[in-house]
């Protein structure tokens, strides 16, 4: 969760919203992240964890919980 916050930070205008995120926090609706920037969140996550997130998985990354789940899943696949 804390690591995901660092990834989301550059794309979140209101940093206070970031402090209170939970699994159900929606990236666009709650965090007000510009939908075009979701691509950048995915690219940053790929670089940080050295994983590849395909189009289908990326589409599922709509809230904090699904982001963590998918990144964990990709990490486990790599190992």
């Amino acid at each position: 969760m804390e690591e995901l916050k660092t990834i989301l930070k550059p794309y979140t205008v209101d940093k206070e919203l970031l402090a209170g995120i939970n699994d159900n926090t929606d990236l666009i609706k709650d965090l007000k992240i510009n939908s075009a920037n979701l691509v950048d969140v995915i690219i940053d996550a790929e670089a940080k964890y050295n994983v590849e997130i395909d189009y289908d998985s990326a589409e599922e990354m709509t809230n904090v919980g699904s982001c963590i789940d998918i990144i964990m899943k990709k990490l486990n696949t790599v190992e």
Partner: protein, 421 residues
């Protein structure tokens, strides 16, 4: 009824001064912003000097959100944002708005997207890593990047357009904004232009052998318009911006008014009659200046100061000749004339807007800025106009009307007239 248009705000990012107070002090004192660039020596360029603003890149977070700043790479867009938003604040306006400002548009020009920034894109694509580019490349590669950032930050909801006519871009942008208000399509227009001469664009000019190459060891002397030793121009970078308003609107809100835009003209010499891709057709130039004067409703004899294009090439003499012919004023009856390029080099697309800011400051504060490096005036120019018209030191003088013109590749011309109000 056509409206009168006035300038109520200005912003500038220039090689010899960022922000109005620093820029005013620099042009009054004749301070050069030209520096030696070690990288250009390493790259075997013939010209190794340039005018680059001392710009605080991190300071852009004072203008745009951190999210917008994160991922901003294009230098010309950064310069444009700073100049435009400074002009907006200088006119007494707030940045934030919840609803679009439907009565306000933006005409902001530039030459080319930042190739240096694009290099990263080219490398990634060539390495089959296009997926890693992210969402911020297209908006900065598109020509309208500058206007998009500016109008987005300020919520400008009227005509938003990016213009590009090489070195005549800045003056043309101002003219287009003026015309839009004059014809009542908008009440306010934020106008100007930005330029970042990156390494690759610089190299291309260097290869054309049009740059100053004999003063690499004395950078401040490298830009020498109208001198016998003028051996090419010095590339400069930066941005200039103006807030134009309907006079009645400005008066009603009690705005500080810098000057009135009397009128202007823009044309092309058609690359005929001596004109080419790189040289102006003299008839095109004289027509442009004369059209601008006629549209302004003044007589050529009323012009107190000419802010020339005067880049420090062989074209300087021809330009003086064109001005003399267009104004019908020769010898000692020619007005004062100066070239800001002697201090900041040739800022290409940004030249017209930065030089216009300088022109209006000269009206506001009653002075003519010096032509620096004019130690050895070209005798052929002396045959056309009196040397007293070419001040090499600051002249304190009331300036009522300034003519500002720029001429660019493609044989394009733009001329504006400003007056005290």
């Amino acid at each position: 009824m056509s409206r009168r248009v006035v300038v109520t705000g200005m912003g500038v990012v220039a090689p010899n001064g960022v922000g109005l107070p620093a820029f005013l002090a620099a042009i009054q004192a004749g301070v050069s912003g030209i520096r030696f660039v070690p990288q250009y020596q390493e790259l075997n360029f013939s010209c190794q000097v340039a005018g680059k603003p001392e710009f605080n890149w991190e300071g852009l977070t004072n203008y745009i959100s951190e999210v917008s700043f994160h991922g901003l790479k294009a230098t010309n867009i950064g310069y444009g944002i700073a100049a435009a938003l400074d002009a907006w604040a200088d006119a007494g306006y707030e940045y934030n708005t919840d609803t679009p400002r439907w009565d306000t548009g933006c005409v902001f020009g530039n030459s080319i997207a930042d190739t240096e920034a694009m290099k990263n894109v080219i490398t990634k694509v060539d390495n089959k890593e296009a997926k890693k580019l992210g969402s911020r490349v297209v908006e900065q590669a598109m020509n309208s990047g500058v206007t998009s950032y500016i109008s987005g930050r300020l919520g400008l909801g009227n005509k938003v357009v990016t213009n590009s006519v090489a070195c005549a871009t800045g003056t043309q942008a101002i003219l287009m904004g003026y015309e839009y208000i004059k014809h009542s399509y908008a009440t306010r227009m934020l106008v100007g232009s930005a330029e970042h001469v990156d390494t690759y664009v610089y190299g291309a000019f260097d290869s054309m052998r049009v740059l100053s190459r004999k003063f690499n060891d004395a950078p401040e002397k490298a830009s020498r318009p109208m001198s016998l030793t003028a051996g090419g121009f010095v590339p400069g970078s930066g941005a200039g911006a103006l807030v134009l308003e309907d006079l009645e609107y400005a008066l009603a809100r009690g705005a500080r008014i810098y000057a009135e835009v009397l009128g202007g003209a823009t044309n092309s010499g058609g690359q005929r009659g001596g004109g080419s891709m790189t040289a102006p057709n003299p008839e095109g130039v004289t027509r442009c200046v004369q059209d601008a004067i006629r549209n302004s409703g003044i007589d050529a004899s009323q012009i107190d100061l000419v802010s020339g294009h005067l880049t420090a090439t062989m074209a300087d003499k021809q330009e003086i000749q064109n001005w003399a012919a267009a104004l019908g004023r020769h010898g000692s009856s020619f007005p004062m004339i100066n070239s800001l390029k002697s201090m900041i080099g040739h800022c290409l697309s940004a030249a017209g807007s930065i030089e216009t800011v300088a022109s209006i400051l000269q009206i506001q504060h009653g002075f003519v800025h010096p032509n620096i490096n004019l130690d050895d005036p070209n005798p052929e120019i002396e045959e056309i106009i009196n040397m007293d018209c070419l001040p090499t030191k600051l002249v304190k003088k009331e300036i009522n009307i300034v003519a500002k013109a720029n001429f660019g590749f493609g044989d394009v011309n733009s001329c504006l007239l400003f007056s005290k109000i």
